[in-house]
Amino acid sequence: MVVLSGDWIVRQTGIEASAAERLLTTRSASTLSFEAAQLGRWDSALIVFLWALRAQAAKCGVAFDQAGLPPSARQLLALAPVDVVPVAVPTAHQRLPERVGRQAIAGWSEMVEVLALVGESILCVVPVLRGRAGMRRSDVLDCAWEAGIAALPIVTVVNVLVGGILAFVGAVQLRRFGASIYVANLVGVAVVREMAALMTAIIMSGRTGGAYAAHIATMQGNEEIDALRVVGIPVYDYLILPRVVALTSMMPILYLYGCAVGIFGGFVVAVAMFDLGAATFIEQTRSAVNGYQFLFGLTKSIVFGAVVAFAGCRVGLRAGRSAADVGRAATTAVVIGIVSVIALDALFAVCANALDI
């Protein structure tokens, strides 16, 4: 006979599940029955206790007679499965090596997946670009506006600053050798060959690649993609091609623009802070930068644009269907975009070196 008395409120008295175990191991009885006349207010605390008691009783072969319990408690108890013991699950406290190991495995498999995606994206760019244009012109124009004109402010800000920083760092060093004049060469070559294409691609993968992934993942969650498939509208032509085309064609334009404002940033810093003559700067830049270097940067920017757009779309199409998946898709797309752009840039640098461009 168990006498239940007083209040059993989770917030006030806590949960006594482990008491059930003690109760049955310390005493031997053949039947468990209850007396609830003095029972005060109760909530889940009581039910958890009774549940544990019932499980324990079943284990020890003790009969569990619930006749003495309040009817509502009996009803709740009937809902709970008989065989699960509601003891508090020991919090999964992983040791440090275990946690590090798990993290490493997860990180590794994520990286493999990212690399697979990057490779797939690169391989897929070609057939998609060659594919027939089943896309709507208005979609391309919308995407192009979003990926081009709308991105101008941030492309301006970042490239001007990068040009300025290059000029500043370069000038401080070069002045020690009395070679300040070459700051123009430095800014020109760095911006045209590397920074304009790279910075613009990084901006676009944060801005546009992430947006593509989020948009397509949202469409996935809304069953919009299923609806396209059912009608037989090719998802690649309809969703991916316009985006890839838009970003791939906008990127070179943004690159050229980025070159211009980047050199302008360097110009302002060099002229205003290091007393370089404006005409000298322009003359030096003209002599340092040639058409091949523009061609090199232009090629890179086209490839970057295609890869960023493709990675965004692929990640979006692969996303799950919940709201959290949308956010995850956006983050993944940005990470993949940035990593693959930088990796490709390194590859370009190596190739250029080998080919002596």
Binding site: A227, L228, V230, G232, R321
Partner: protein, 267 residues
């Protein structure tokens, strides 16, 4: 409109569907007669939407055949499947309107893609379909500006755009208030009578099942197969299987199940 002769509109045989290696439903066989309204019933999570996905070509069955007008739907090429699929209209659980287009463009897109019609005829058809579903003046609005019920109606207009032979619905009345749900039921009946369309619908809304369905199949989550065939009314009155009996004779009116329908979001 029936070109299948004495074939059933949709014939399903020994169908097994699932994700990866896990079978969600096994060994299903049923036939949908031309012009009937066929219900796929069962509790939440028993695999109704999964079966529907196999029927409309979104999920390849692990085993079994699905025949449309006697033609094996999954046997042919993707192109063949797409051609057959153009005779389907599907209303997804959430409407699934293409969010970057206005309602009218949503309805017009399949027509633009798959018919040689000129813009004027397409406009006329779009206006007709939107009026049929009761949205005559909402064509210019974007999907995000519509209420849940209107979105479903617009989705229905889009499903009707190519004059389908079979209309599929995934939980048409889930998430709708009782009035809208009843109006949607009436609309389904009218469309069936008007166009002699065959309708396959997934639902666990008892009132609409009893009002509109002529035939159906009951899927069970435990045994993972069909445990009853026949019209929902007959199941309610005659079926001895305890699960079916309990399901069909559940207390409560329309709305009692609304939250369940919503909660099973992935659908």
């Amino acid at each position: 409109m029936d070109i299948g002769g004495d074939h059933p509109k949709l014939g399903v045989q020994a169908l097994t569907v699932g994700y990866g290696k896990r079978a969600v439903q096994q060994d299903l066989s049923f036939e949908v007669k031309p012009g009937s309204i066929f219900a796929i019933m069962g509790g939440s999570g028993c695999g109704k939407s999964t079966v529907l996905k196999a029927l409309i070509g979104l999920l390849r069955p692990s085993a079994g055949t699905i025949c449309v007008n006697g033609e094996d739907y999954w046997a042919g090429s993707e192109q063949h499947r797409a051609d057959l699929g153009r005779r389907f209209g599907v209303l997804f659980q959430s409407g699934a309107l293409w969010s970057s287009m206005s309602v009218a463009e949503n309805v017009a897109l399949p027509l633009r893609m798959f018919t040689p019609l000129d813009n004027a005829s397409i406009d006329a058809l779009v206006r007709l379909k939107l009026s049929l579903v009761g949205l005559p003046s909402d064509g210019a609005r974007m999907p995000a500006e519509l209420s849940g019920g209107m979105r479903k109606r617009a989705g229905l207009a889009r499903a009707l755009s190519l004059d389908p032979e079979i209309l599929f619905f995934d939980e048409p009345s889930a998430g709708l208030d009782p009035g809208s749900a009843a109006r949607l039921d009436d609309l389904i009946l009218e469309l069936r009578d008007g166009f002699n369309t065959t309708v396959v619908l997934v639902s666990h809304e008892l009132p609409s099942l009893f009002t509109i369905c002529d035939d159906g199949v009951f899927l069970d989550a435990e045994t993972r197969t069909a445990i009853a065939h026949g019209s929902p009314k007959a199941m309610r009155d005659d079926c001895k299987h305890p699960v079916v009996h309990a399901f069909m004779n559940r207390e409560g009116s329309r709305g009692s199940n609304q939250t369940k329908g919503d909660a099973d979001g992935s659908g």
